[in-house]
C-alpha cells in the first residue's frame, strides 16, 4: 500500500509510489514543491527538498 507523507511546506499529502527508490523525485500535489526520496527503511520513507534545476542540467 502506498505510503503517504506530509509536505513540510504546505501540509499537503504526498503519496509515495510503491516502487519508489532512493534518489527519485516526488512532488507535493498541492504546492508543487519537489522532494527527493533520501531513505527507504522497512516501509518508512524519508524525504529531503530536491535540488533546484541547474543551468547545466539536461540530457
Amino acid at each position: 500500500m502506498a505510503i503517504k507523507v506530509m509536505c513540510q511546506e504546505c501540509g499537503g499529502t504526498i503519496t509515495i509510489p510503491d516502487d519508489a527508490i532512493v534518489g527519485e523525485i516526488v512532488s507535493c500535489p498541492d504546492c508543487g514543491i519537489d522532494y527527493e526520496v533520501s531513505q527507504i527503511n522497512n516501509g518508512s520513507i524519508q524525504l529531503k527538498i530536491a535540488e533546484d534545476i541547474g543551468e547545466d542540467w539536461g540530457e
Binding site: 516502487d19 527508490i21 532512493v22 534518489g23 527519485e24 523525485i25 527527493e36 530536491a50 535540488e51 541547474g54 543551468e55 547545466d56 542540467w57 539536461g58 540530457e59
Partner: protein, 284 residues
C-alpha cells in the same frame, strides 16, 4: 555481471534501465555521485567500480568529471569521456559534425555583442541563439531581426557565467513543425520519433511539451545518423535532426538521452537495448 548506474537524480529512464538489466540477470548498483567522493590519487578506484558503469547524471558537469575520473582509472564507463565532453557542448558537437561532413545547420560563433550581430547578418534572419551548454531548449531563442537579437544579447551580457557570452548562432531552418529524435545504442538506431512542436512554442523538446510520434527514416538518413553517432565517439545517444530542403540536418546530439517520450510510442525496447548494450560491453 554488475551494472553500476551513476545518477544525481533518478528519472523514469534510470528506473527502466535498472529494471531491464535485472530482468536480463545483471545485478544493479545505483550510485549517487553527490554522496560518493573519490580520492583520485589512489589506486583503488577500479576495484570500487567492479563492473560496467552507466553514467546517467542529469548535471552535465558532474557527468563529465565523474566520467573523466573513472575512465582515467581504467573503469569501463558508458558513455566515454570523449563522447560525454563533446555532446555536452553544442559548439564542440558542431565542429565534429562539420569535420566529418555530417549535414548540420549553418552556424556561427561570436565572442562579443558586435561580433554576434555581424555573424547573424551573414547567416541571415531569423537566427536561433543557443547557449553552448544546457538542454531541454532552455534559453534557445529565435530572433526575427537585429532588434530582437540585440535584446537577447543584452540579456546574455548580464549573465555572470562567461559561457553565456559565447554566442552560438544558427540559421533558423525552414522545417515542418517537428524534428526527428533518433536513439542510437552502439551501432544501431533503436527508435526514431517525430517531436512535434506544441502550440505556442516553436521548439520541439519533449521537456517543453513536444508531442511524440513514431518516425521512420530512409536508408540514406539512417546512414547519416549512424555516422553522426560515430563522429562523437558512439555509445548511447539521442540524435536530433531537422528535415530541410537540403535533406536532414543534425542539430544536436545528447549524451545522456531521455526517452520517456520515445518509449510512449516504442515501448521498453529502448531501456532493454541500453541494458543489453551495457551487459555486452561488460563482457568485452
Amino acid at each position: 555481471m554488475n551494472l553500476i548506474i551513476l545518477y544525481d537524480r533518478i528519472r523514469w529512464e534510470e528506473k527502466q534501465i535498472a529494471e531491464e538489466a535485472k530482468a536480463l540477470g545483471a545485478t544493479v548498483t545505483m550510485i549517487d555521485v553527490r554522496s560518493l567522493p573519490l580520492e583520485i590519487t589512489s589506486n583503488s578506484i577500479k576495484k570500487e567500480f567492479d563492473g560496467v558503469v552507466l553514467q546517467r547524471c542529469v548535471s552535465h558537469t558532474r557527468g563529465i568529471y565523474y566520467t573523466a575520473i573513472l575512465e582515467e582509472h581504467n573503469v569501463n564507463v558508458i558513455n566515454s569521456f570523449f563522447t560525454t565532453m563533446i555532446t555536452s557542448n553544442k559548439l564542440l558537437t558542431t565542429l565534429k559534425l562539420v569535420k566529418n561532413n555530417i549535414p548540420t545547420p549553418k552556424t556561427g560563433v561570436a565572442f562579443s555583442y558586435d561580433a554576434a550581430l555581424k555573424i547573424a547578418k551573414d547567416i541571415g534572419y531569423p537566427v536561433v541563439i543557443k547557449p553552448i551548454l544546457g538542454s531541454w531548449g532552455r534559453l534557445v531563442n529565435k530572433a526575427r531581426d537585429q532588434d530582437e537579437l540585440s535584446s537577447l544579447l543584452e540579456a546574455r551580457e548580464l549573465f555572470s557565467d562567461p559561457l553565456y557570452q559565447v554566442y552560438y548562432l544558427q540559421e533558423y531552418v525552414k522545417r515542418p513543425p517537428r524534428d526527428i529524435r533518433s536513439i542510437v545504442v552502439g551501432d544501431e538506431i533503436i527508435a526514431i520519433t517525430y517531436r512535434y512542436q506544441p502550440e505556442n512554442d516553436w521548439r520541439t523538446n519533449v521537456a517543453r511539451g513536444g508531442i511524440v510520434d513514431k518516425a521512420y527514416l530512409s536508408d540514406d538518413e539512417h546512414e547519416i545518423i549512424l555516422r553522426a553517432a560515430k563522429t562523437v565517439g558512439g555509445g548511447i545517444l539521442g540524435i536530433d535532426a531537422m528535415e530541410s530542403d537540403r535533406g536532414i540536418l543534425i542539430h544536436e546530439i545528447n549524451g545522456t538521452v531521455e526517452f520517456r517520450g520515445a518509449a510512449s510510442v516504442w515501448g521498453n525496447i529502448i531501456p532493454r537495448s541500453i541494458a543489453e548494450y551495457a551487459i555486452k560491453r561488460a563482457k568485452n
